[in-house]
Symmetry: C2
């Protein structure tokens, strides 16, 4: 088989599920750039982080007529499970790139850690597949993906052209909620130190027992002008290069020099 065709294989996934408009927008954004295979969860999986399914089997179902020329599947698993299944069971060879999104909602700053969208992209990066997660700062199902699509295509075209040899290449791309003409361009950023201040909403159920809803206020503690939060506030597309080596080398050095742990 001469499966190693010239056309790149583009694996697309998300965490909002197979029926999300953001997923369809991402497919439309990159149409024509390669052979597109969609493998997405069968239901929304926001906030799943890097969860994988252990102790339960997974279902994998072909979706007929998702879009002309696009091979599509949904699975019963998490976004990370989708990437694992795609690589092991669906694709005839390792995809050239993996795209995740377009997420309905922000994944800047600390959200990269909770995000199923970014975890799926990171899983692909661990598997040596250059990857990007895209998120639009609009939770709405009817969000306008026009600008997001334009920039997603631009970034993917650039990735396919500028292969830098980094097999673990991984970007976290967020798009501000403004019309295309108001976007000031793309900024390469670092992850801001910004997080949620949790405030669980305590309620009482009909039998008198307490239960708790997670709510919280997002706060940016980072005054840098080189962060993703800053860029988005100034109507830039934020691009944060991401890695899965979580080693804190500064602290490693400090422990080696100052701690008497032995």
């Amino acid at each position: 088989m001469s499966e190693k065709s010239e056309r790149p294989i583009i694996l697309i996934t998300n965490d909002d599920g197979i029926s999300a408009p953001g997923l369809r927008s991402l497919v439309e954004a990159v149409e024509g750039l390669g052979e597109i295979v969609v493998v997405a969860p069968d239901k929304p999986q926001s906030g799943m982080g890097h969860a994988i399914t252990i102790g339960m089997p997974l279902r994998l179902t072909r979706v007929e007529d998702y879009k002309k020329g696009v091979e599509a599947y949904h699975t019963s698993g998490t976004p990370v499970d989708c990437v694992k299944l795609a690589v092991d069971k669906i694709l005839k060879r390792k995809p050239d790139i993996c795209l995740s999104g377009i997420n309905h909602g922000a994944n800047h700053s600390i959200n990269v850690i909770y995000s199923g969208t970014m975890s799926a992209a990171m899983e692909a990066s661990i598997e040596s597949i250059p990857s990007v997660g895209f998120s639009l700062l609009d939770f709405s199902v009817e969000a306008d993906f026009t600008a997001a699509k334009v920039y997603a295509r631009k970034i993917v075209e650039s990735m396919l052209k500028n292969k830098n040899g980094d097999r673990h290449f991984l970007l976290n791309v967020n798009i501000p909620k403004v019309p295309l003409e108001l976007i000031n361009g793309i900024k390469v950023c670092r992850q801001a130190y910004a997080k949620y201040d949790e405030d669980f909403d305590e309620r009482t159920d009909p039998t008198g027992k307490k239960y708790y809803w997670l709510t919280g206020e997002f706060k940016n503690f980072d005054e840098g002008t080189d962060t993703d939060v800053w860029a988005l506030e100034h109507n830039y597309i934020s691009v944060v290069p991401v890695q899965f080596d979580l080693t804190n080398y500064r602290l490693k050095k400090e422990l080696e020099q100052n701690w008497n742990l032995e």
Copy 2:
């Protein structure tokens, strides 16, 4: 209230659930070092990564008689939910440290990303609570935690003594599965590039439909002698300092210099 007592508050959680022997071992290991509060999932939550519960409320239940002098709760949420609930709803003030584990099974190398144990510790670190996750390289419910307990206490004592002012201080500690007398000491390491080669086991259910079990072989692709995998193979306790800033600064620089993304 003079709640700011001299006794440190030690928050303890895990991902194997409230009834796990590893959790009890961790409590025993640090008894006497402070006021211990346990907040753990009500069921096993391995492989949950940094998942949080969105769209469903949580239950929080006081556990009577967990252990004399220990305040204990279980929640219906993920390990990360446990930390959020503890900080927002249970503790009278921010804990001095958070400990997670002792996990039944390894969390070295790439496992740090999938691990509920490490995600709980990371959540505390994001909340500016110095934290450590402990994992023993033995999946068994009857695992022998003797050596793990000795070294967990040693590390926690050292943490409480050497407050280095780093509010986001976070360690990933793994203990080899060998008797105490065979342990060669502690090694500060970096995270190895080692991962699972997935191989889904495809089966057919009684109605003729396919389903898939996640299986895989662990492979170390990292030849460094400064990694956690190397240390554990040589009977050392591995200590990897961990961070939640996932920015890849090397790639950031490269993109700024070489990519024409604007």
